[in-house]
Amino acid sequence: MSAAAVPSAGSPTAGASRGMLLMLLLPGLAALVITFLLPLIWLLRASFASSTVGAFSGGDWTAQSYSTVLFDPFYWRVTWNTLVLGFNVAVFAVILSYPIALFLARTESRFRGVLTALAVAPLLTSSVVRTYGWMVILGDRGVINSTLQGLSLTDGVIRLTNNSFGATVALIEILMPYAILAMLSGFGRLNAQLEEAAAMLGANRFRIFTRIILPLSLPGVLTAGLLVFVLAISSFVTPRLMGGGRVFVLGTEVFNEATVTLNWPLAAALSVMLLVLFSSIILLYQRALRALET
């Protein structure tokens, strides 16, 4: 049932190909439609409902939630906060992940498997537990503060958490594994021989890095950046807990409207807003990628 060598319509096996194509597409697409497309359509519908019940079963249509979202300056600020958070997290996560990804891509170490696994391990810890880990490190009486005080570098407490700094740091760490994975798969074009060729042409380590390694890995870096950005602006648990409730981003607002105030239409509208943000970022990203490739 392989489509193996049936790349074009005129091919000898083309007769079978239309049915075959359907067979190939159907199972996966069905699953995606049920668990992704339909929920998304519901989301759209819900965002135009007026009541909780309407959000589930139809009923009247109103743009009430959208006008709330669009005309409330608070949501504009939240959107701005979200973008800033996403940007900061993306930039730092990418910068910090890059060396690890590079290291993993090249190391010949016996422990490569373990090291790769360790780089991905943070993904598998409950976010609540991991957040608690960060509280221990960054808290007022946490590892860093007590170390600093122990060394008499400061006498007061340095506020490292329960603010957007804490949220950013924790998000960076939490999303780094994604960045590392994305970069690793994008580092395919790196090739030791290219570096050798550059060395033969007189490039020292620094220049090899800036002129060969970096440009070649840039698509992977961009993908990683995009992924982290998107995950960061849609996160809610970490900003909520690490931000000490002071960090208001779209994710936390969606969560809040959906589970605390039970305003599902508004939650849906905010989600749609988030999706619009994604889509524009992705479009920009694709532009950038195309520009890189030509």
Partner: protein, 264 residues
């Protein structure tokens, strides 16, 4: 080796070590806490014991949820890989109208926050009578795992030289045989890697699961979530450590077997 080259190596290794330390810092803390004897999370531990681990293994809810998660994860892994394999074949080997749309549909779930999806998924699944059932949770997890399996399998598939498949055709293998004898074995690393990732995601997913399951099909993450609702004690840390060890074990084994990085 020249002196400054050696220096560069040392600096590089130090940098990597620091970054790893940052990446693993909260996990290290969690690891330490997991041995605390007190009944709440605090640092540093007062005294150390394996008590929390013992309790985790005695907690019937955790244990049964663990097996459920394992089964669900395995099914999700297998189904997601199968569907992903077929989708990847269609995308990698066919030109067809609407391919861009299909591609988008596969990419998009990466980018839509689970919290946004969760209620919608519940709503779609509920009328099918699948709430709190194995098929329901499996279906819900397929949407978020298929994108990963498609991605890894595609990577493997791209790496397969089409000419090899052509060679099989020329030498008398009908397309069905080409698939079973050539294509499938060649993308095995991608299949395994995709399966493992799908498994891990399903095994770890809480947000959507919370909306789908309650008692019968409750998974380990949802049990953890409920547990955290009324108690935060080192059991949670111990459980996290156990899960990490299991996952690291799986990842290492797969890396050994097929080279996960190639497929990622």
């Amino acid at each position: 080796m020249q002196g400054n080259q050696l220096l560069g190596r040392i600096a590089w290794n130090a940098l990597i070590t620091l970054l790893y330390l940052f990446l693993l810092a909260p996990i290290i803390v969690v690891f330490i806490i997991s041995f605390d004897t007190r009944q709440y999370l605090a640092f540093p531990p007062e005294s150390l014991s394996f008590g929390s681990y013992v309790k985790v293994f005695q907690n019937i809810k955790f244990i049964s949820a663990f097996w459920r998660s394992l089964i669900i994860g395995a099914i999700v892994g297998i189904v997601a890989v199968s569907a992903g394999m077929l989708l990847s074949l269609a995308l990698a080997r066919y030109r067809f109208r609407g391919k861009a749309a299909v591609n988008f549909l596969i990419l998009a779930p990466f980018l839509v926050p689970h919290i946004v999806l969760a209620v919608g998924v519940m709503l779609v699944i509920a009328p099918l009578g699948l709430l709190d059932s194995y098929p329901g949770i499996v279906l819900a997890h397929l949407g978020i795992t298929i994108p990963y399996t498609v991605r890894t399998i595609m990577m493997s598939l791209m790496a397969v030289d089409i000419r090899v498949e052509e060679a099989a055709l020329v030498h008398g293998a009908p397309p069905r045989m080409v698939f079973w004898r050539i294509t499938l074995p060649l993308v095995r690393p991608g299949l395994i890697a995709g399966g493992v990732i799908a498994f891990l995601i399903s095994f770890d997913e809480a947000t959507i699961s919370l909306f789908i399951v309650s008692v019968k099909a409750s998974t380990l993450p949802t049990e953890i979530y409920h547990y955290l609702e009324y108690s935060t004690d080192p059991q949670i840390a111990a459980l996290s450590v156990i899960l990490i060890l299991i996952s690291v074990g799986v990842v290492v084994a797969v890396e050994r077997l097929v080279g996960l990085r190639r497929a990622l």
